[in-house]
Assembly symmetry: C2
DNA sequence: CGTTGTTAGTTACAAAACCAACTGTTAACA
DNA sequence: TGTTAACAGTTGGTTTTGTAACTAACAACG
């Protein structure tokens, strides 16, 4: 009972997912951290704006599932560093449109390149079929844990 | 360039892994948090001791890849709640053996049951072959990001 | 209009994580 | 032995996150 239980942590999916996520995030983190002093929340906001263009904090929240306070702080940091600008909506003055500056777009394109190369390096360790299976399953798991 | 870029965040493996990990951890977190007021670090330490039996903080660190300060604080909390006991090694007095108390083992067995049921529920959404592929790939990714 | 409810976003405070320096102990080896 | 290095584990101070309450603006409906 107290020694050598047969439950295996390495087979417990949430644990395994966390380990894989942590390890695989590390190298990319080093780049956006060392190169731009960004946090995870910040590169995510940067990427959302880089990919989809101008949008509000609310929309970023819906797409990324990040909490609005995290987004608010990430936006403040990115604005302070002149990576994005904020524009109030004329009709509904609660809304604020966020848009990358030239500097923000340069940072985005730079990091996007790193991300793509890193993703390819990770994918190279597996067959195309396995990668497709993996991504499909991860998307299912991410969309809602049964 | 600024609008509708073609990079897809949902295909960037580190991002996708994080999303899946976060969502799939949530339900289990609710149980150990609501039922025992534990943190993630604490259930991990509890499980390591429940599964492998008596060991030192150092060994837990090696197996779990958690930083020693996290482990130290989790152990302190678990000891305070009488879920584990600490015994100095007679020969090398730097070492401290950690072992679950009866209460600790009860908590472990309770949570292990929850974990197993949750894992089964997650697995039920996929074929056995796909689950095997998923776990194999996650283990590869967790062991070292190329 | 005016009250009540809802929404977008921010701020304040507490909880947790991170990093570096620390204590106490053993090992290495001149 | 004596000195220096290495190791197990802890503590302190800062950063980051989480939670809840807040402000400012709009909407619904009497």
């Amino acid at each position: 009972m107290s020694i050598a239980d047969d439950f295996d942590l390495q087979n417990f999916l949430p644990y395994l997912l966390n380990q894989a996520a942590e390890v695989s995030s590390l190298r990319f983190q080093q780049v956006y951290k060392d190169r731009y002093g960004m946090l995870r929340t910040e590169w995510r906001v940067l990427f959302h704006l880089g990919i989809y263009g101008k949008m509000t904090a609310k929309e970023i929240g819906k797409r990324s599932k990040m909490h609005k306070t995290k987004i608010s702080r990430a936006v403040a940091k990115l604005a302070e560093r002149r990576f994005l600008t904020r524009h109030r909506d004329g009709a509904d003055r609660r809304l604020e449109y966020l848009e990358l500056t030239e500097a923000g777009q340069r940072a985005y394109r730079d990091l996007r390149q790193v991300a793509m190369e890193y993703d390819s390096a990770l994918a190279a360790r597996f067959s195309d079929a396995d990668m497709a299976t993996l991504k499909r399953m991860l998307r299912t798991l991410a969309s809602d844990a049964a």
